[in-house]
Amino acid sequence: MTTATKTKMQAVTGNQAVAEALRQIDPDVIAAYPITPSTEIMQRFSEFVSNGKVETELILVESEHSAMSACIGASAAGGRVATATSAQGLALMWEMLHIASGYRLPIMISLVNRALSAPLNIHGDHSDGMGARDTGWIQLYSENAQEAYDNSVMAYRIAEHVDVRLPIMVCMDGFIISHSIESMQFLEDEDVKKFVGEHKQIDPLLDFDNPKSIGALVLPDYYMEHKRAQHEATTKVKQVVLNVSAEFGKKFGRDYGLFETYRLEDAEVVLVALNSAAGTIKDEVDRYREKGVKAGLLKPRLFRPFPYDEVGDALKNAKAVCVMDRADSYGGHGPLFMEVASALYPHRQGPALFNKVYGLGGRDLMPHHVDQVLDETIEVAKTGAVKMIKEYITVRN
């Protein structure tokens, strides 16, 4: 039963959807250095600023390193803070990403996933987000504009939760989602404002009656205690994501969890994939189901912290699982595969597991590519034998 006002469906780009979420949230400070394909978010947001639609102080800086630095300063001062970036932009922020999480600052990045150079490429893959895997940020992945919007609305509730207080990235695929127009449903301004609520920073620096210091040098006698405490905060994220998502679902009628399962319950042949590819895979799962194949999909939403127990439980009864990575770890297995393999380690008698790297640099994943993967997964389910653990598809051989 939803309590919120119903709004009509609208046709927008993913970037437009996220810009709208930011307008409705109206953060105190946004510091940005726009980069393709996330540019449109800030382009639209700067119009909101110029037209007086938001109170936000928009700081235009000279690099992404400065953008994140300004976000850190503004957040430590006590503000609710956001930025948007992609690929090299996120890579340039890398040093500061660790500072934001170490200081426990609930900053939001709208990350429009794009391939990292070289070779130079502006299209969508997940190498930027996966590169920031170990920076201490929460990562939510979004299949389409609707999910990117909904995740943005939920982001601060998760990041700012008193048990968590960690920065958060809301990710969507560059161009495939950021620039494609699809129909989605916005929430009313008032509903978003009420849902997101007020921000109250813990120990803000702009509190002259209580002077304090952040960022002090910590030597070997204390560094590890700080890191252990930071890890503890990440262990609280799962429950907060579930609670916030449940409240969102109750109010607005769209349900989210730690991951989405699609026809997974009795599935023997399972694909695991992030973001937009999941849409294509769902269609093919339907087609294979019609043919009598027990196919299913698991689409992670919360990638950091990774819900190992829940993913392991969801996949343990499958016969074969293929994890599809839109990012590579050169000399290693795909980053999503490594997590799923860890999740399944306690279920070693469970499914046969293998890894396909696809869609790098925005290379399309077509339905017939998914069919090839499903066919191979069916074969592995039958024989239990994996020929090659990691292999590239959608590549010319």
Binding site: G102, Y103, R104, L105, R165, I202, D203, N210, P211, K212, S213, I214, A216, V218, D221, Y222, M224, E225, H226, R228, A229, E232
Partner: protein, 97 residues
Amino acid sequence: MKQMNWKELPHAGTILDAGNADGYETGSWRSFKPRWIEENCIQCLFCWIYCPDTSVTVKDEKMTGFDYKHCKGCGVCAVECPGKKGNKAIVMEEEGK
């Protein structure tokens, strides 16, 4: 002092006790110690301005000596001291001699 465990640390490691560097005695780092020779001092307060650790003590606008709990013995004061008629009012002496 008993060291805190990870559960006892303040949120984000923020230092809530402002100015607590005062309690950290960096004077033990010193291998050379500044000595004040009062008869050569013209009270220019260059030492007070230049000291990176605010370890030159001043009372009623007059230099009175050093805070040896915090002075690291960097020697900047001795270099900057103009002294009187070529005689320095601050000299550095090796610790323990």
